[in-house]
Structure formats: structure tokens, C-alpha cells
């Protein structure tokens, strides 16, 4: 159902800009969505997709730019106004009450007086019409993730939307559930509804979308007709070519590394819970003096990989993880620390550090098993812990209001410098860092990366798991990509092509020709 060629597009956005402090999350975005169109919005983590969508849905106010809806200029101030216009949104994480039934959950989102048996009939009608099998009386607790998403979609459809925004809808679905979703989307489009589809999965874009807009670093870097593109050309657009140019050729490819300090061999891990990712037979080695970067889109097993190496979760086999030649797969986190390893998890508050404890207490957190001066036969030497706190604070320029403050009083960047510094201070033989500069300012990121590079220069083996490709290309000597719990072969950074990384990140395994 294409609209007449002279009618205005459903949604037209011009020059939409949003700044957060010094960061421009969305920079003069132009976007046009036609009637009955599936429009893919493609980009890496942090490309500005969510910010853009939040502005369209009235959850964030743009700093500049205009939005036209059906040819009329509009100002969308709240999600309620967006819904009134006919914009619906399906979030990546659902907002459903588990204890209530499907129809009760849907009634909650509607105006008063639309509940009851009549609603059940409506739900059944809609779910039949769009191929969304759903029992209105089922309680949410009993539903699978895919079924829960259907509830959200039906709830959205009851508002008669003209445009539905979907944020990474397949990221929580099994392949089979995703197929059912695609059928629904095609039916919606046939009925004249437009869909703005946010994703980083390239094959989905090629299969499904009529148009694609590619965001990178807050800017539109291209728009394409996916039918005319291949998976690999989209990958190139998404990652950007300029990154390839800046890869660290400076160090040359003849850099030689020492012996293996961290080795994973055929390491597997079962998925933990509904949203967990299983690790599948991972092989990896990090040598003396080497920085290995693991690229990948969030939620592809990075978290599990970290826990496997740190010992927060144990391997089946002792030799699945080897640290400096010792089998460590069955050892706990402190025994691995005693082998000379150090770990910095992704979450600063609650994992790396405890918010309501002082910084010196947070030193004890990772040092108590390895530092004799901090832990004197079971008794804490606060003096020694404070000395470490002071030393790290100086070396990493951690801005503190007073000596030894609570961890919660530090800004994200300062706390990150502290938790990295806390481990670097031990001069570990192996350092594993998950998302070293996630959400920190440029200055702090600089200092953290410099510290990692220096550690490697002094003979440590450093493993960096990061979703920031620029970061990986800046610091890593060797790169591997993790996708859906599988690790690609690690290759020297200068030999890794952008296209290849993009494809591996987008979940395209094997030959390019087959996928496209």
C-alpha cells in the first residue's frame, strides 16, 4: 500500500540535534519515513539510535530541528502526545506486570472503561489478524519472551498507530520467534502501518527493510536501499572506513610477543538464566606484552566470557583456562588473583566496587587475598589500604572531595580510573578488563588506555573486552570478535579488515556470499 507519490511522507525529520554536555549524541539528523514502509535504523552501540528514537517518541526534547507528521509541523513533548499522533513504541525491555493476565496488562495501558470481556475479544481479533497467537487470560509469568513481546505489540496496536518504533526487537527472541515477528511486521505494513526498526543485525535489514538509514557517532553516514546492498556493504557503512585508516600501523606488524600468559582452550559455559548467553568452545591466547581486544555488540557473551576468566563462574575442565601455565579453570577468583591475574568488570557500582564503602574498603575488596600488608592474618590494616588508595588516587588523578571518600561520591570516570588503578597498582601478569571506558569522559578514557598500554609494555598480558571499536583499534595488537557466544579467530589488528569485523559483529558467520 504505497501512498500517492505527491503526498508528504508520514514522518519527516530535519536537522534534529541533541547534545549532552560536550557530547553531541545526535547531530543534525535528517530522516524521512514513508507510509507503509519498514525503515531500518542501523548503527553500533552508542551511535545515537536510542537518543534519536527517544526524541521521536517525546521522551527527550531535541535541542534543534523540526519534526513534520503527515506534512504538519509538530512538537512532541511527551510519550502521551506521541501516542495521540499515532506513534507507538516497543521497547527492548518490556514493561509488564508479571502477576497480571495479558488482558489486564493491556487494559492498564488503555483509557478507563475499555477493559472486560469486550477487550478479550478485541485482543483475540487483533492477534488473529496479525498472526500473534496470544491467550488474553494467560498470566504474564507463564509467557515466553517472544509471547511477552506480542503482548506489547498488541497493546501498541490497540492505539491504532500509524508508526511503530521497535528497539532491537529480535535481540531477546529465538530465531523461530523472530520469524513469527517478521510475518507480523509484513502484515502490519500491508495494512499501511510504517515501522521504524532499530537493529544492528545486518541480515535482518537486508531481509526485511525497504529503506535503511545508517548512524555513526550521532551522524547519518548513509542511507541505502537494502535490497540493492549486500550485507558486507552495509557493514562497511555501519563501522565506517575511517577507522580502518587509523588502526595502529605505527607499531608495525613485526612486533613480537612473549610466551602465553592467558590461554582459553575449548572453553564453554552454559547459559545462565533467560537472558544469558552460552559460550561455545572458545579458544584464545594472550601473550606477554600483548593487548588483545574482543569486539562485539553488547549481550553476545562478553559478560559470560569475563566471568569465565575471572573465576566467578567455573569451567567444567581445569585446563579450559590457564594463567601463566597453571590450570585455573576450577579455581576461584582469589586463587586466580594469586596466580597474578587481575580483573575489572564492566559494572563499576555493585560489581567492581561497593557504593556505600570507602575507597580504602574497596581496595580491600580485591587486595585482601593477595596483599599481605592489607590483610594481616585476617585483620585489616587500614593504613596499608589507605596507602594504596592514596597511591592510586595520585597516579590516576582520581578527583576526590576529601581523603578516602565513599565510592558512591565519585563520578563515573573517576571511579573507573580508581578501579583500573587499583588493579594496575598490583602490577598483575594478566589483566582482564570489560568495557574499560564505558560511559567515562575523554580525559579519563585517555588515562585508562595509557595505563593498559604501559602495563602491556612492561610485560603483562592484557585482555580488553569492548564494544567501542575505535578503542579496540586504538589499543589492541590482536583482535577477535565475539558473537552469540562464539569467538572468531584472533588476528593481528593491522590485518583485520573493517568489513570482516562488521560482518562478524553482525552475526554473519562463514562466507559473505551465503549471507547476502
Amino acid at each position: 500500500m504505497e501512498a500517492a507519490p505527491d503526498s508528504p511522507p508520514l514522518l519527516q525529520v530535519a536537522g534534529l540535534t541533541k547534545r549532552f554536555g560536550s557530547l553531541t549524541a545526535c547531530d543534525a539528523i535528517d530522516l524521512s519515513i514513508g507510509h507503509g514502509e519498514i525503515h531500518a535504523l542501523l548503527g553500533e552501540n552508542g551511535a545515537g539510535k536510542s537518543t534519536l528514537v527517544k526524541m521521536l517518541f517525546g521522551a527527550l526534547a531535541p535541542d534543534e530541528g523540526t519534526v513534520q507528521w503527515d506534512g504538519e509541523p509538530v512538537l512532541i513533548k511527551t510519550p502521551a502526545e506521541a501516542r495521540r499522533l499515532g506513534i507507538g513504541m516497543i521497547f527492548q525491555h518490556f514493561s509488564l506486570f508479571e502477576a497480571l493476565s495479558v488482558s489486564e496488562n493491556i487494559a492498564l495501558g488503555l483509557d478507563r472503561g475499555r477493559g472486560g470481556p469486550q477487550l478479550n475479544a478485541t485482543i483475540r481479533d487483533i492477534s488473529r489478524e496479525y498472526g500473534l497467537p496470544l491467550d488474553p487470560r494467560a498470566s504474564i509469568t507463564d509467557l515466553s519472551v517472544g509471547e511477552r513481546q506480542r503482548v506489547e505489540i498488541v497493546r501498541c496496536l490497540l492505539q491504532n498507530p500509524k508508526l511503530i518504533i521497535m528497539d532491537e526487537p529480535t535481540s531477546v527472541l529465538t530465531p523461530q520467534e523472530a520469524d513469527i515477528l517478521f510475518v507480523t511486521l509484513r502484515r502490519l505494513v500491508a495494512n499501511g502501518v510504517s515501522i521504524l526498526y532499530i537493529t544492528h543485525r545486518l541480515t535482518e535489514v537486508v531481509d526485511l527493510a525497504d529503506k535503511a538509514t545508517i548512524l555513526r557517532r550521532g551522524k547519518i553516514v548513509g542511507s541505502a536501499d537494502p535490497k540493492a546492498e549486500s550485507v558486507s556493504s552495509l557493514a562497511r557503512l555501519m563501522i565506517g572506513e575511517e577507522v580502518a585508516g587509523s588502526s595502529k600501523i605505527a607499531f608495525g606488524s613485526d612486533t613480537t610477543f612473549g610466551d602465553d600468559r592467558l590461554v582459553l582452550s575449548d572453553a564453554s559455559l552454559a547459559a545462565d538464566g533467560q537472558f544469558g548467553v552460552a559460550l561455545k568452545s572458545i579458544d584464545l591466547r594472550v601473550r606477554r606484552g600483548e593487548i588483545v581486544g574482543i569486539a562485539g555488540v553488547a549481550g553476545n557473551g562478553q559478560h559470560e566470557l569475563f566471568e569465565l576468566i575471572s573465576g566467578e563462574r567455573l569451567s567444567e575442565r581445569a585446563n579450559a583456562v590457564r594463567i601463566d601455565g597453571s590450570d585455573a579453570g576450577r579455581l576461584g577468583v582469589n586463587q586466580r588473583r594469586r596466580l597474578g591475574a587481575a580483573f575489572v568488570p564492566e559494572e563499576r557500582i555493585g560489581h567492581s566496587a561497593a557504593a556505600n564503602l570507602s575507597l580504602s574498603d574497596n581496595v580491600i575488596l580485591t587486595h585482601h587475598a593477595v596483599a599481605r600488608d592489607v590483610n594481616r592474618n585476617g585483620w585489616i590494616s587500614r593504613k596499608a589500604a589507605q596507602a594504596v588508595e592514596e597511591r592510586v588516587g595520585e597516579a590516576f588523578d582520581v578527583r576526590r572531595a576529601h581523603a578516602d571518600p565513599l565510592a558512591s561520591s565519585l563520578s563515573g570516570g573517576n571511579l573507573q580510573k580508581f578501579v583500573i588503578g587499583r588493579e594496575v597498582d598490583r602490577e598483575p601478569g594478566v589483566l582482564v578488563v570489560n568495557q574499560p571506558t564505558w560511559g567515562v569522559d575523554a580525559g579519563a578514557a585517555r588515562r585508562v588506555r595509557d595505563a593498559l598500554a604501559e602495563l602491556a609494555r612492561n610485560g603483562s598480558a592484557v585482555l580488553v573486552i569492548s564494544q567501542d571499536l575505535d578503542e579496540i583499534f586504538e589499543i589492541a595488537d590482536t583482535i577477535a570478535v565475539i558473537s552469540d557466544g562464539r569467538m572468531s579467530e584472533a588476528r593481528p589488528a593491522e590485518k583485520m579488515s573493517m568489513e570482516e569485523i562488521g560482518l562478524l559483529m553482525g552475526g554473519v558467520h562463514g562466507e559473505i556470499g551465503n549471507a547476502a
Binding site: K54, F57, G58, A59, L60, T78, P79, A80, R83, M89, I90, F91, H93, S95, L96, N105, L108, G109, L110, D111, E152, R155, C156, Q159, S310, E312, G332, V333, N334, R337, F343, P345, E347, I349, G350, H351, S352, A353, A354, A355, N356, L357, D361, I364, L365, T366, H368, A369, N375, G378, W379, I380, R382, L406, S408, S409
Partner: protein, 365 residues
Amino acid sequence: MRLELIPRPERSALFAILSPIVALGVTLLFGVILFTALGVNPGRALYVYFVEPLTQSWSVEELIVKASPLILIGCGLAICFRANVWNIGAEGQFTIGAIFGSAIPILLPEATGFWVLPSMVVFGALGGGLYGLIPGILKTRFNANEILTSLMLTYVALLLLDFLVRGPWRDPGSFNFPESRLFGAPGTLPTMIGNSRLHIGVLFGLIAAVALAVMLRFSIRGFAIRLSGEAPRAARFAGFRQNRITMAVFALSGALAGLAGISEVSGTIGQLRPEISPGYGFTAIIVAFLGRLNPIGIVVAGFVLALTYLGGEAAQVSLGLSDKVTRVFQGMMLFSVLGFDTLIQYRIRFRRTVAIPPAGGSSHA
């Protein structure tokens, strides 16, 4: 207008100190309303409750005797609560401690050796500790909610005591009264000063408070307990095992409650009876929170709550008020402390009411 709680960037040190004091004030204010409603002169009632017990030496002694089990149990509970383990069953652990310890003088009435008292004390702590381990095992093995299991086990313990003193352990010479034989001199904790009520058991509370304060602040074990309560994932990252900590704090708090139990029957009562505690195990929960989950603060809080017991007895005698008033007071105090504790982490903001968008999705935006 709408009340909003805004998280503070840092814990308010001011409210951490102020909260229990304000809570006491609110409780007193509530007392004025309560006594007025009961037709009693509130000024006189508050005097009887909170001042009179402090004016005579015998009642000050009584205050210390009543405060010591509260302090002992409260310290143990504070360790549990710091570790985010919710032991609500101290009353049961107290009771089992009393039963274990009393077994020696009841089953071996002829025993007179110097070993009798120490082994009673050890048995009491052991019994309470073992009984505390039951909800610990249920939690770590089967993920059973420890609040429910520990609370329910309390009633099991109370009924066991009831059964024993009415059945197998009843004193043959008691003319069918439900009580055990008197422990006699070898099974009674000696007094500290001459003929007073101050038995040496009251020292246990003070010793425990100091020891636990030192442990929490200066030992790795204490650090593990604090960390696992504050941030369980960080505790796992630090290599501390959550299950072990859960078991340890249950055993420790159970042992302290058991110690309080045997001290009470051996030092104050002198025999087992169907009722050996005026709800010390439950009141100690209030003590723990009023004392900021800090062993030294708990010593102070123990005396405050002991005062409500004494005041309640006095009010019964001289004002004819029901002893239930004491429970109401204690409940009000816990309620206020927990309420005002919110202000340590949050500040209050008043806001004009705004329409809430109809659909659920917006909450994520």
C-alpha cells in the same frame, strides 16, 4: 501536591545520627496521643513509663538485667542484617538455648562440679547456634525465604519448651505446676554485687558488643559480612562465598540468642517455665535498628527498649494500663526508626501533581 523521594548523592551523616532521635521523639508524641485516648494524663503516664524506673536503684538494676538479653540478641541480629540476612527467629533460638543449657541441671540434678555452669553456658550457645543454622541451611540449600522459616521455627521452639515443662521435665514436686526443678546454686549464674539481681550474665552483652564492633571494623571476616550485605555481586567478585556468610551469621546470631536464653533462665529465673521471655527475640529487632546495626549503638538502644519493659510494668501497677501498651510502643518505635531511616538515603521534595501518561511503555523512556 505530591511527595517525591529524591536519592541523595551521598548518605546523609546528619540523618544517620538524627533518625533514631527523631524517631524517639515521634514515638513519645504518639504516646501522648495514645494515653490521652486511654483517658490517662499523658504527662503522668510518660513519667511513669520513662522516668520513674530510673529513680530507684533496684529498678536501675532491673533495667540492666532486662537490657542485657536485648543487647546480646540485638548484636547478633545486627550482624545478620548487615549481611542482608533476615533472621527473625531470635526468640526461638533464645528458647532452644535456654532448653539446651537447662538440660544439665534438670537431667543431672546431683551434679555440683565447677564445670556445671560453664557447660550450661556453652550448651546454651550451642543450642541457639544449631537452631539458627536450620533456616540458614534451608536458605542456602533450598533457597527458602529465611524470614518465614526462622519466624516459624520460633513457634516450634516455644511449643517444645511448653511440652517439656508440662511433661518430661516438670518438677515432680511442683504440685502439677508447669515448671522444671529449680537449678540450685551450682546451676545459677552468680551475682556480681552481693545480693543484687545483677548476675554475671549481664557482662556477656557488653563483651559481645565490643567483640563484634572490633570484628566488623577490623577483620576480613567482618569486611566480608559488610560487603555481602552492601553489594552481593561485589562480594562474589572479592571471592567471598555468600552461602558461607549466610550460615556463619545465622550460627553466630543464634549462638548469641542462645547465650541470652541460658543466661536468662540461669541468672534471672532459676528454672524453666512455659514463658521465659517477654518477647526479647522480637524486641531485639527494634534494638538492632534503633542502634544503627552498630554493636555500640545497640548497647544504648538495648537500654532504651528495656526501659519500655520496665515502664510498662510500672504503668500496669500504678495506672492500670494493659501490658499490651508496651508492645504498641515498641512497634511504633521500630516503625518510626525505619521511616526516618529513609531520609538517610533520600531527601523529600514536594511537587505539583502532573498527569501520568496512560500507557506503560513510557516508564522506560
